[in-house]
Symmetry: C2
Subunit: 366 residues, 2 copies
């Protein structure tokens, strides 16, 4: 069959040209006589692949020279533990602050609590069922000098996203940007550390990008951290402390090439804005047939949750959508309803097709 | 160009039919309208892929029902830390025993020392430059009841391999089998835990297989282990605690299908034996032109290191071999000389080509 419209929250749709390139390279990469998967990670061919991927990420995100870029394993979930293990130099006394905006920031805090004696919730929208992002003037930090403040820049389940970058001054701002990295321009200088599982905007699952300011690396030289959980040896070995997830990094490089060919992050943002406006417009203009529970100023461009006024129609909606080639629209099991994920690689035509389907469905069932 | 002869120690050669299948599936997996990389890990299509991969591994290795199979991230290096974190229920008092047969077992011990107060070297061939595997009657355990005994079943750098499975009775035997898993039949019942990075015999880098006896899971319920480092939640979530490395697991499944199509592990072993006999035969029959430093009873079927009597010819050998399409024959940087890795997927013709080249080179330079 033809390509489906893939609204999966992750692993998610990839650009078709990336898949076509991967297909053409699979058995024989550029006349090298082998697949990228079969290359020694220390071979000249592979070093070129990983070096180019890092250079391109630096270029696209404008990553300053005093930041290190790592390609690790374990997803954001391993970063939930690695961040407090590495960024708090006195775990018995120092505090780390968390802003809670949904399931993922709660999990990040949970892991920090295993590692640190003191953690602090600086703000939370739990009382409002995570339907908005707290403003910075609502934050109550633990004191003048927490080790860092942790935020989740986009929340896949509740469909909220920071529309602003918090200003934390000298306190390192740490961001889980798994689900909106590279979807909009960001000033990396405002962050101490940014991490992201690749499987939404960067590539396949199995590789995690960490961007860390160099003064935050190696704060705990005698901490007896398992070597895989310590940023320093990863930095010293250029992400080759052990065998990296070579193929996932190769695909990530192809995705970055595609982003560049689209005109870079600014052009991607323009298209993401258009896609989001179309979908939220369809929801808001449906005279209440559809509704999005998220406050307008906190709505995510990446993940749009929506419900039907008549919840009894939800199963029918999903079944008919699937028949129309609109896939993975079921809301997260913890919230129900529908969710359309619209990452960078989701073609605008997929949103057009969804909006058209929604209008027809409303007409038939309104 | 055509396929090269790929003697890489890992990531390593994959079966050509696996790569061809991956190529054909890349843009549209079995008419599903999307790539495996784009599938939600919780979709029906993907669940079938991961379930089949586990079932096939169980079948091929004869894994008993009381063992769990996990697909994790982080390579063997993360297991170096996870094993002592999980299998020692009293890290202040209990001891874990290690048999040291090379660089990888040393690294495993190093990680254990960060986690445990007491570790013990039960045997080591360091004094003999790791040119053999100690016999079990040479072992000196720390006492009657170490938490486990750890071995490295095959040593990629020094080219040694256990020709026997140690009998540790009630003491759990833990094996890093990264570089010879699935290359010969093994009685899983003799082990408490087996782990293996996939990038030698199982598939691409980025996925690690852990086979663990179920009574060894969850020994430290209150240990505040980061969730990614605790086997129990991985077991409870069927390797889906977070997004697994979906594509690497899919390729691993294809490799397992190929192993089965070859006739299973017994047939693979027969071919591996033939390949190893051909290469070691060429070395031993060269009248001293080539030499393998490893004691005959400890020689690895997977990685054969060899040197030239005249070391000045090494660079020429490698350069001419490369021209002849024989790739990645350079010995590990820590030992020099040559190394031919002959994992399951290395075609017998590659060994034939190497043996022929070696004979010609000896003739020209003898």
């Amino acid at each position: 069959m033809g390509r489906i419209h893939n609204f999966s929250a992750g692993p998610a749709v990839l650009p078709l040209p990336v898949l076509e390139q991967a297909r053409d390279d699979m058995v024989d990469y550029k006349g090298s006589g082998l697949s990228v998967m079969e290359m020694s990670h220390r071979s000249k061919e592979y070093l070129e692949i990983i070096t180019n991927a890092e250079a391109l990420l630096r270029e696209l995100m404008g990553i300053p020279a005093n930041y290190k870029v790592l390609f690790l394993q374990g997803g954001a979930t391993l970063q939930f533990a690695m961040v407090p293990m590495n960024l708090v130099d006195d775990p018995e006394n120092q505090t780390a602050d968390y802003v809670i905006t949904g399931a993922w920031s709660k999990k990040a805090l949970e892991e920090a609590r295993k590692v640190l004696k003191n953690t602090h919730v600086a703000a939370s929208s739990a009382a409002e069922k995570f339907t908005r992002i707290p403003r910075q003037d609502e934050w109550q930090l633990s004191g003048p000098r927490p080790a860092f403040v942790h935020i989740t820049t986009n929340n896949t389940i509740y469909g909220t996203e920071y529309s602003y970058t918090p200003d934390t001054g000298d306190i390192p701002l740490v961001a889980d940007a798994s689900s909106n990295i590279l979807s909009r321009p960001v000033d990396v200088n405002r962050f101490g550390l940014i991490y992201a599982g690749a499987q939404k905007n960067l590539g396949p699952s199995g590789v995690t990008v960490v961007i860390v300011r160099e003064d935050l690396v190696g704060l705990r030289p005698n901490a007896n951290l398992p070597v895989m959980l310590d940023y320093k040896p990863h930095v010293e070995n250029g992400s080759m402390l052990n065998t990296p997830p070579t193929y996932a990094i190769y695909i990530l490089g192809l995705v970055l090439q595609w982003v560049k060919a689209q005109g870079g992050v600014n052009a991607i943002e323009t298209r993401n804005l258009r896609k989001a406006e179309k979908l939220y417009g369809a929801i808001d203009g449906s005279n209440g047939f559809y509704a999005c529970p998220v406050k307008v100023d906190s709505r995510s461009r990446m993940n749009a949750p929506f419900i039907l006024a008549n919840d009894a129609l939800t199963e029918t909606f999903l079944a008919e959508a699937k028949k129309a080639g609109l896939s993975q629209l079921k809301g997260h099991r913890s919230v129900g309803g529908m969710r359309a994920s619209m990452y960078n690689a989701l073609p605008e035509e997929s949103v057009d097709a969804l909006v058209e389907f929604m209008a027809g469905f409303a007409q038939r069932n309104g």
